[in-house]
Amino acid sequence: MALAFSPEADREITDIIGRYPERAAALIPVLFVAQDEFTYLSEEVLELVAERLDLPAAKVLNTATFYTMLRKAPVGKHHVQVCRTLSCYLRGADQLMATAQRKLGIAPGETTGDGRFTLEGVECLAACGTAPIVRINDVYHENVTPASLERLLDALASGKGEPVGGGGGD
């Protein structure tokens, strides 16, 4: 069956297009809508976006590949992003990364076999005053310690952690 946007997503896309004098400007916010809808931007999804915005597929691909938050591959249900930039490093980010690796049994950039966790090192999240920071899906966790991260990951693994949303778009 051909891929299609849900009626809600389609309405949102129409609303987004109306914000700009040029249709191409809607591309990044619409890619976020597509990512929320289909979890990641497969080739098929990119084609659907190109069609919906009436843009060349190459243009859509060119933009999608430039940005790290636009995902070209599936990620785990819980996307664990450990900030590794200076302020977080100075407050123990490496120990958090080591804790996460040990707990999840994967290296940065990998996803657990059951598809539940993806681990990633990311750059400064602009919350350096409450470093170190771990962002899980779109929620920031501040002043994280190895012990608090362990508790957090345990809670998520047992399904008791707070449900957290997906992409960054509106």
Binding site: M69, Y89, C124, G129, A131
Partner: protein
């Protein structure tokens, strides 16, 4: 000397939820829009000029003067674009407005748009800020519902739309022309200047780009007047500023101080001093792109000129403190990887050079660098500096140049010892360093 803090911009701890439109208005919010309307565009621009509002995005360009660059004779639409990409490591101030006081920013956008005769404004917020995006959108929608935005502004016959546009995880999009590319749906690759955005900006039209904190200052300047504002700063550098302190201090956080407050006092008095009472080894005064200062160089006023006088920059006022016991090579390694990762790749000196810097610093830190590699590192940094389309090149080169200039012995020691002299504990941030008392930032 007791440091004076102010609470004009940073209004935490007053028991108020500033996100709520009624709360914001009850405290006089949106009154400055009416006053600006009575004053008229020319007088508003003049007031902002007189207030010496220097750009808070890092470069410190005077906002009123920038506004004057819009061509008078163009019949194209004009745009105001707000830079809320907040990506400079060590900087966490614009997030305050987006998350806790979005109406202050919106009120500033309205006043600026009326002064610039712009009928559309885009707030470009970094994609990771999901909560900030939601909160700012909510505030905008509340304004539409209250007749503050839309076909008219509070009964003033001026149509204005404000939109949030999400970024998608690229530091380079904080550079103003990369931001415009990104706003237009393209990869965030900086444009050659000229033409400057004031002439050809978003969608080929004249565009003013300002940082969040710059625009959030505007309602205060209009409400209280330029003289009041400049009295909170220094000559030609007006108003208070938001200052973030992170790294090795007892009380990291965000503070508001008059421009000109002493950097050392901010660290010792507001941020509780260095962690564990150690000596301060190094301070980055205004975001990671600034040149580093040694612990004995920080007795300076936080003004654009004051930091320039000691060979660094006021930048974004994002202060990062490192205490004795921190491996300076390891600290630089973090930043060099950051810049290599964030280079957009369109100019060769930056694309190749930032990768080369990161690899050389890796080798230095691991102890596999050769004699002479400290000079090689400097050579590469000097090759980048000044030879690129945008300032990311300099942002990558300046830390290297200054860390080596100030801590050369430590780089050399890594070569001579075939490894890091600090062993497996290159930071004392909460972890044991051999020979040093252990401290915990979380105690």
């Amino acid at each position: 000397m007791a440091v004076q803090t102010t609470n004009h911009l940073l209004r935490r701890g007053m028991g108020k939820d500033w996100r709520d439109l009624a709360t914001y208005r009850a405290a006089g919010g949106y009154q400055a829009v009416k006053k600006a309307h009575q004053m008229g565009p020319a007088a508003v621009i003049e007031e902002v000029k007189q207030g010496s509002v220097r750009g808070r995005g890092g470069a410190g360009f005077p906002a009123g003067i920038k506004w004057g660059f819009l061509p008078k004779d163009s019949d194209k639409p004009r745009y105001l674009v707000i830079n809320a990409d907040e990506g400079e490591p060590g900087t966490f101030k614009d997030t305050y407005f987006l998350k806790e006081d979005p109406h202050r920013l919106i009120e500033g956008c309205i006043i600026a748009c009326m002064a610039l005769n712009a009928h559309a404004c885009y707030i470009y917020i970094r994609g990771e800020f999901a909560e900030q995006i939601r909160t700012t959108w909510k505030a905008i929608r509340d304004c539409y519902a209250a007749g503050i935005l839309g076909r008219s502004v509070m009964g003033i016959p001026f149509a204005l739309d404000i939109y949030v546009h999400p970024g998608a995880g690229a530091y380079i999009c904080g550079e103003e022309t990369a931001l415009l590319e990104s706003l237009e749906g393209k990869p965030g690759r900086p444009r050659m200047k000229p033409p400057f955005p004031a002439v050809i900006g978003a969608f080929g039209s004249p565009t003013i780009i300002n940082n969040v904190e710059t625009i959030a200052a505007v309602p205060l300047v209009i409400e209280h007047g330029a003289a009041w504002w400049t009295a909170l700063g220094v000559d030609r550098d007006g108003g208070p500023r938001l200052v973030g302190v992170s790294g090795h201090v007892e009380r990291p956080g965000l503070f508001e101080v008059p421009t000109g407050t002493n950097l050392k006092d901010v660290i010792y008095e507001l941020a509780g001093g260095p962690l564990g009472g150690r000596a301060i080894k190094a301070v980055i005064p205004g975001g990671s792109s600034c040149k580093v200062l040694r612990g004995d160089e920080i007795d300076v006023p936080m003004t654009i000129d004051g930091l320039r006088a000691v060979g660094s920059m006021l930048g974004t006022c994002g202060i990062i403190v490192m205490v004795e016991g921190t491996c300076i090579v390891r600290a630089l390694q973090r930043l060099s990887h950051f810049y290599a990762h964030e280079s957009c790749g369109q100019c060769t000196p930056c694309r190749e050079g930032t990768g080369w810097l990161a690899r050389l610093v890796d080798q230095l830190e691991a102890g596999t660098a050769k004699q002479g590699d400290v000079d090689t590192l400097l050579d590469v940094a000097n090759e980048i500096d000044g030879n690129t389309i945008c300032a990311l090149g300099e942002a990558a080169a300046w830390p290297v140049q200054s860390y080596v200039a100030k801590f050369r012995d430590e780089f050399q020691a890594h070569i001579d010892h075939h490894g890091c002299p600090y062993g497996d504990h290159p930071t004392p941030g909460g972890f044991d360093v051999p020979g040093l008392p252990s401290v915990s930032p979380h105690a």
